[in-house]
């Protein structure tokens, strides 16, 4: 797992995931503002749904590029390979809520 987390491929997924997180956060904040909730607050249920959507989009990108075959040949299951990104989502969202 250490090799995977320090690899250029994981870093490229991390960059894409952060972009997806930004899109998700903007959409989430806008929706919260409309219904009168604090836009950048950390709401676990909502974060779970948004994180799942972000991962689904990333998985679609990975599969479209046949990189799931690359990961498979490297003996990595896609859910395991992308699992660390859940922590990235939580960390970024918590940090944003604390800064807000």
């Amino acid at each position: 797992m250490g090799v995977w987390l320090t690899s250029a491929l994981f870093r490229s997924y991390l960059r894409r995931f952060i972009l997806l997180w930004i899109v998700g956060k903007v959409a989430n904040a806008a929706t919260a503002a409309v219904v009168g909730l604090p836009p950048l607050a950390f709401r676990p249920g909502t974060e779970l749904v948004v994180c799942a959507l972000e991962l689904a989009v990333l998985v679609a990108f990975v599969r479209r590029a046949n990189e799931d075959i690359l990961l498979g040949n490297l003996r990595l299951r896609l859910p395991v390979a992308l699992a660390p990104l859940v922590l990235v989502h939580v960390a970024l969202s918590l940090a944003t809520s604390l800064l807000a």
Partner: protein, 223 residues
């Protein structure tokens, strides 16, 4: 050894695979030969779990694999080369090799396929032939015991084709099982040790294929 036994698959009401059987034997190169649309790629996808068949089973060393999946099969020693590009286009071959870990000696595989020259170039900038060699270099660097290669020679110029064939032969001579799909029936004579033909989703082992005329490779020939 990997095998697919009695594999059947229907898509959109059409029979794609009809009780197909294929296997890969250690120390030999097995070719699966058929026309475009005969079911070669679909059969490979069933073997590695990318498609679920309606019937039949995949076996590894004779043991039934309940629900085949590429990562699990790769842990047992399988390398799968699909018929379409599968490396990350924004990374270099060296970046891919680093995924194998620092302890892994991958230079030999890269040298054998003549891929050293473009080790640092982004995959997306490689020609079709260079890309194929890069994919195979990564695959052979994994030191698999079974290699499923779907059209590994497609689009390669003769020089690259010879390089790939040499590496595949060396790989099989080391005890690995190679199963590859091809539709270049003439080239298969010089590369394969065993041959399955596939037509309309049904397979057949063709004994003495080097001596038989091409039309006898397919199902019309009498038994």
């Amino acid at each position: 050894m990997i095998s697919g036994d009695s594999i059947t698959l229907r898509l959109g009401g059409r029979a794609i695979l009809q009780s197909a059987y294929v296997d890969a034997v250690p120390g030999s190169i097995t070719a699966l030969v058929g026309r475009s649309g005969a079911g070669k790629t679909t059969l490979f996808e069933v073997l590695v779990g990318r498609r679920r068949p309606d019937g039949g089973q995949v076996r590894w060393n004779g043991e039934r694999v309940g629900r085949p999946a590429l990562p699990a099969l790769a842990r047992r020693g399988l390398f799968y080369h699909p018929d379409r590009p599968w490396l990350a286009v924004h990374l270099s071959l060296a970046d891919h090799m680093q995924l194998l870990g620092t302890a892994h000696d991958w230079r030999g595989a890269v040298d054998a396929l003549g891929a050293t020259a473009w080790l640092g170039r982004r995959i997306g900038t490689l020609s079709g032939g260079e890309l194929r060699l890069a994919e195979l270099a990564l695959g052979f660097a994994l030191r698999p015991t079974v290699a499923l290669l779907d059209e590994p020679f497609r689009g390669l110029e003769p020089r690259h084709r010879d390089e790939v064939a040499t590496v595949v032969r060396r790989f099989a001579a080391g005890g690995a099982a190679v199963l590859y799909a091809d539709h270049d029936v003439h080239a298969v004579r010089g590369t394969a040790d065993r041959l399955f033909s596939i037509e309309q989703g049904a397979t057949r082992l063709v004994p003495d294929f080097r001596e038989r005329p091409l039309h006898e490779w397919y199902h019309a020939w009498p038994t």
